[in-house]
């Protein structure tokens, strides 16, 4: 049913999106391609709507216009049931892990399998143990999510995300708030899962150093659209100021240090009336 000849699993075209409660658009005319079987890193300053992008691909948000094609299906135009059908083919690793707090680790991972299949208990057990083995948490199966460390919770959530053998995994800030060791573990897991399970991965992050070591393809988003795209090597060679600012982490540059405001002098002297804009929600 998918377009076999295409190399891109996700194709976004002319996407316009603004949150219902905010007047400021998040994306305007966004164009993006996610190649099949590769790891794509999506980077950009905070608050630019990277998580929003994942939710758009997952169909949790609907854009005002434009198309988001997942394996040839235009996600925003799908009916509810068709959308749920497509969601079985993708999964998302949330920033907090989002494990169900009232179930053990084992039950958490068995949950999507139980919901979507009528497999007998022994087979479910085998699958769950396989997935736990893949993330190295087979010994932690009887723990409750509250008993796990942050890194372990994220790995358990990763095991749950691959429980149904999806084609696409979206990682929302997988490295945020992790110590260097668990960060290294997750980097390694993303890479090895992508290769061994023939997945397509989208990693949204600010942790440039980590993600550049595994990404096949990097997309930098700023100012409501894609500003740069290419392999890590291509981007590091780029002479675009914004790309360089982002990769080197300079405090000021094309992305200003200051939140939009009236000039400082006007503000303290009180002559500038209320001119503050409201921010983009990300």
């Amino acid at each position: 049913m998918s377009s076999v000849n295409s190399d891109d699993l996700v194709v976004i075209e002319n996407l316009d999106f603004a949150h219902a409660y905010g007047a400021h658009p998040v994306y305007q005319g966004l164009q993006m391609r996610i190649p099949r079987g590769k790891i794509t890193a999506v980077m950009g300053p905070s608050g630019i709507g990277k998580t929003t992008l994942l939710r758009l691909i997952g169909g949790q948000l609907r854009p005002q216009s434009g198309s988001i094609k997942f394996a040839g299906h235009d996600i925003p135009k799908l009916s509810r049931s068709a959308l749920y059908e497509q969601r079985k083919r993708m999964s998302m690793l949330f920033q907090s892990g989002a494990l169900f707090t009232d179930m053990s680790v084992y039950e958490n991972i068995a949950f999507p399998i139980r919901e979507h299949s009528d497999l007998p208990e022994e087979i479910i057990r085998t699958i769950v143990l396989m997935k736990l083995e893949a993330v190295g948490l087979r010994g932690a199966r009887d723990l409750m999510p509250a008993e796990l460390s942050g890194g372990m919770a994220r790995r358990a959530a990763l095991a749950r995300a691959i429980a149904l053998d999806p084609e696409l995994i979206m990682y929302d800030e997988p490295f945020a708030g992790q110590d260097p060791i668990s960060m290294g573990v997750i980097v390694k897991l993303i890479k090895s899962l992508n290769n061994s399970l023939d997945l397509t991965s989208i990693v949204v992050t600010h942790d440039i150093a980590e993600v550049l070591t595994i990404a096949d393809n990097v997309v930098i988003i700023a100012d409501k659209k894609v500003v740069a795209q290419g392999t890590p090597a291509e981007l590091q060679a780029s002479d675009d100021e914004l790309v360089q600012q982002f990769l080197s982490g300079a405090a000021d540059g094309p992305v200003p240090f200051h939140y939009r405001a009236a000039s400082f002098a006007d503000d303290i002297l009180g002559s500038a009336a209320e001119q503050k804009g409201t921010g983009n929600a990300g």
Binding site: G58, Q60, R87, M92, Q95, L99, T101, F111, L164
Partner: protein, 258 residues
Amino acid sequence: MLDRVASLGKTILDSIAGAGQAMVMLLRALIGKPQLRKSWPLLMQQMYSVGVLSLVIIIVSGLFIGMVLGLQGYTILVDFGAEQSLGPMVALSLLRELGPVVTALLFAGRAGSALTAEIGLMKATEQLSSLEMMAVDPLRRVISPRFWAGFYSMPLLAIIFSAVGIYGGYLVGVRWLGVDEGAFWSVMQSNVEWGQDILNGIIKSLVFAFTVTWIALHKGFHCTPTSVGISRATTSTVVTASLAVLGLDFVLTALMFG
């Protein structure tokens, strides 16, 4: 001045939008074929946390309210030499009003706030989003079993409340204050009726169950997913649900007994 009108307009629009959201949520949660094999254990789980766990507070409050009714009623009725009417007074106040209403208020405070906080927290920790991304409809999986659990539990709780309350009135009236036991029950029996009193009380309770559970679920499901948002939503559940119960009680009483 115009700003005030505008803000009033915004409030009205927001509340209409909220009501619409709540309606859509409920319809989507309830429409569609239920999968009995999967939803039965979920319903049991929720009946437990919504119903069984509210049992103690309902029984204790019912007993005390019945005892207070017995005591107060006796002191008033004895002046008219009508202490034999204590039975119907206690029974009718409980069955028609206090049983359904106080149960609904306690339920809003005990179970309603817990429902809102639980769902709000599930939203804040992205568990609801996570369900959606697993192609599991959170409305079916999370909202629907909680709704039905509330809808079935509250009338049962109200019946238990009334029964325990009548027993409390009996304890005080007959055992303590010495109203004749035979008169207590027989005068009660000749004044209390199945259809008019017991059934109407149950109907009231069903309406309250629907309202309180719906408000609690809506507030949780559509709350702002932050700690402030959840605490506001929880407070708002208790306040809105209590006011709705009292208002609806007036309307229902007017329809049934007016």
